[in-house]
Symmetry: C2
């Protein structure tokens, strides 16, 4: 298939064939505003920053290993630019680690256990990615693909914190509302006191002090003499209502208990650049994005159940073999984009250089997993006024995530744990039945005995024990956090090996985010496009 | 119509006929869990705390003045218990101050100006109530009535603050994300410093200090030596992405500028008991609740376009006259529930005692209003990554509220101001065209010139200038805030005048909230029910 001349070259400073690049790549997601003609059907199509710009001639083929976010994004973008693409995906579904579990989902894990989900129609949970920050290009793809989105409650005043230990307030369930009110109240009181005592006069001017104490009085809801004495922000014992139902005030915890109890240990989660609300998610499951990609790419170009066996540069192209329905097949293409999890690439027959194989191994696999429980009563709404968000704990379950859909209905799926690292390792070798029992015990310690009642069904997954992934996300040796941080191995894999390119969230500064996979895919697609144009 | 024997007396400690009351009234909204049989159709019907319990005999009729939240809630509950109800509503729609403006909405205000809304199909904004806290009984009615709800973004990291004045950072647009990061960073640094200096040793133990500084390091994202040097929480100049696109760091503002600039002056809004997220709203407009009430009550029992003219106790009942289609009509009933705005009751022909009329006047009317603009481009999403929430300012517009629906589509309605008090008074005497011009000037000062482009249409309303309301909510003389606070006048109106009962959010501790109207209505309904039972 010839690379077609793009009808929507926008004339943004291109110097002939060498000017090939993504439109407005420098401001990813900030799509060019107006004037970009609709390329497709009569329906709305926003201008896209993901369109390859420029003109190359000749047939060019690409084989893409993996039908997750990076693979499908790459296939979609290259198809738009007229490339011939073949996606090989070992699973029978698109999305990779984006996996929405619903009725009929069946999986045999690497522990050898098979689970089949029996949730009610319309109910699901996302075993992998479940939320999207506003700044991520993921939302641009939702817009471009027509995937409907809704708000995702990342934090909720009515959910609970409950931490084990021997500190004050240990094992007590406290609403986020109350934990915040007391914490902010006491830190405001303390800083007001220190300021008024002149303890900070070397760094605060008189005007600073006046403005600061004014802010703190409001921030902490302090009394006129600068003390925190409790606040309606904590909530009420009985709800204020009509007439003389003023609501029953709650009493604040003692300052020392609040501080030493560590009630605020999780507050900063919601300030994080990629976690601050408002957060979003597709209506009906995160996998909607990948079914939309699949529909745009065309199922002709995606081979499901295709387990890659070998990967070899041939000098003028790439040969890939795979096993599908028990038969070994071969694809040859001009280029390959490999989105296979980095620590699994070495298992393929390959002719990659030793230093590349070493670099791939530096992306260490990690543990994470979830367990979803369908309840036939929304006790969290009816009894606890919790409509979404998560309760937090230092138990192995780490958090309990309440559904963001089907509000007010008669059933719903609660994510009874979403844990990673050591906490997840406590679950991953267990049978599902054992995981559920542990999750219920820990959840009941926070939300009470109702946590064990009205359970319809459940389903769990652990990414380390999930075939074709065997990891939740990559931890680069020598790096910390979810950023690439440019370790030597990371840098190494940013370069192609002859005609093989690596892509995935592990090669981005947004590891474990779809945005990382998409930007990586776009970067590789651009590199190939530029290489061809350069001749 | 006879009061039917309730089939679902739940045996919660009733002493004969005198035990009539709402089930579980003491825990409003916390509906009794299980065992309450479905009273209606085959569809799901959650157990209701709003069912009158007990048994009275004979025909009993009630005339209800006003088809807003209090009036329709009262009518719905009394109908459930078998009372004969007649609702008189002056407007041609249910909901009162719950008013969703959409295509075809026409209103002539008390300035004499007629506006007709020409928003695109499916687009609207709520000129009155627009959000529901999780704790409010409003959500229970949504469940009971089958009104679908969705999250409402009350606060958003990507929206802006921009304050006028001569303080530092005045007239600058700063994201909430950055404003919070800097404010929390500097107060954490300051309190850490004061703590380490021993300035608070009289109130903090060594363990307190250790736990506090650990919390502050995380809360403020401080350096290892306890300083705030900026943080990724502020956001990036360029978005982090693939490979070596680490994202362009932003620099924090100076401490003194952040403090004196008052960037945090609105942070406490989101800690408020009735504003803390997660917040909710019905899909398709707040008025969906009142159309649902209407459908349950039956339109036979609601007279629209019925302007009440007189209201009189007759000794054994109440006579009400009203004007409909130019004709004066009369309703007689055993009881009356009057939900007419308190400051307007005195305009009716009435035989209310002088002290009651005086008490009604103590509920002073207030100013509030909104203006909605439909844009044909969602510039807030495409250019600024704002998907809902509000920008805040001390200009008269007070805030700009971004739509919580139609994400990613080609148009949307922005609430260009939601102001009250003096800020609203700056708008209420203006013609719509002038309001729009002022709103655009003030909005453009925050969001730039794009704020004035791609405008399709607009519609504004000011509650002081809206017929039949003439107020946004009541301010009780001698009280502050939105609680009843039991002033003598407030207490006076909690008692019936013979057979006339007053209801509305003004007679609750949740003034300006639907919850206040509902709890007031339920309280009055219970009083009437108990009075009849007592014989």
């Amino acid at each position: 298939m010839a690379v077609t001349r793009r009808s929507f070259i926008r004339g943004i400073g291109m110097a002939g064939g060498a000017g090939l690049a993504y439109g407005a790549m420098s401001s990813i997601g900030m799509a060019p505003a107006a004037g970009a003609p609709s390329a497709t059907t009569s329906g709305y199509r926003p201008p896209s920053a993901g369109d390859l710009i420029g003109d190359v001639s000749g047939d060019h083929s690409v084989v893409i290993l993996g039908g997750g976010p990076a693979g499908l994004c790459a296939a979609y973008e290259m198809r738009k630019a007229g490339y011939k693409v073949t996606v090989l995906e070992a699973r029978q579904r698109p999305g990779g680690r984006v996996w929405s579990v619903r009725n009929g989902t069946t999986e045999t894990d690497l522990n050898g256990e098979t689970q089949t989900c029996t949730f009610s129609e319309g109910h699901f949970y996302n075993l992998g990615a479940t939320r999207i920050p506003q700044t991520h290009i993921t939302l641009d793809y939702c817009r471009e693909l027509g995937v409907e989105i809704q708000q995702f409650g990342n934090q909720n005043a009515t959910t609970l914190v409950n931490y084990t230990g021997d500190q004050p307030l240990a094992h007590q369930s406290v609403t986020y509302r109350a934990a915040k009110a007391d914490t902010y109240g006491y830190i405001s009181e303390l800083l007001t006191k220190a300021t008024n005592r002149g303890a900070l006069d070397d760094v605060l001017s008189r005007d600073d002090k006046e403005a600061l104490t004014e802010f703190l009085a409001d921030f902490g809801d302090l009394s006129s003499d600068g003390r925190y004495l409790g606040t309606s922000r904590r909530g009420y014992i009985t709800e204020p209502g009509a007439g003389l139902d003023f609501g029953g005030d709650t009493r604040p915890y003692r300052m020392s208990d609040v501080i030493q109890g560590g009630l605020g240990r999780n507050f900063s989660f919601e300030f994080g650049y990629d976690q601050a609300m408002l957060m979003f998610t597709p209506v009906g499951g995160m996998d909607r994005i990948y079914y939309a990609f699949q529909d745009k790419i065309g199922t002709d170009h995606i081979h499901y159940g295709a387990e890659v066996a070998s990967l070899k540069n041939t000098g003028d192209g790439v040969d890939v073999t795979y096993v599908q329905n028990g038969r070994r097949k071969k694809v040859s293409a001009d280029y390959c984009i490999c989105t296979v999890p980095p620590h699994l690439v070495g298992r393929l027959e390959n002719n990659l250089p030793a230093d590349v194989l070493t670099a791939l191994k530096a992306a260490r696999p990690s543990s994470s997993g979830k367990l979803g429980i369908e309840y036939s009563r929304r006790w969290w709404e009816e009894d606890e006024r919790i409509y979404g968000g998560a309760s937090n704990t230092n138990r192995d379950i780490s958090q309990i995530m309440f559904p963001y859909d089907h509000f007010g209905s008669d059933r719903g799926v609660v994510v009874a744990y979403y844990s990673s690292g050591k906490s997840q390792q406590a679950f991953e070798s267990l049978r599902h039945r054992q995981r559920l029992a542990k999750a219920l015990d820990e959840g009941a310690a926070i939300h009470g005995s109702k946590y064990k009642q009205n359970i319809s069904s459940s389903f769990s997954g652990s990414w380390k024990r999930t075939k074709y992934s065997e990891s939740a996300w990559a931890n680069w040796v020598g790096a910390s956090g979810h950023g690439g941080e440019a370790t030597p191995e990371y840098r190494k894999l940013l370069e192609p090996v002859d005609r093989i390119y690596f892509a995935g969230d592990h090669l981005s500064n947004a590891i474990a985010w779809q945005h990382g996979a998409f930007t990586s895919a776009r970067s590789v697609v651009t590199s190939i496009h530029e290489r061809i144009a350069a001749g």
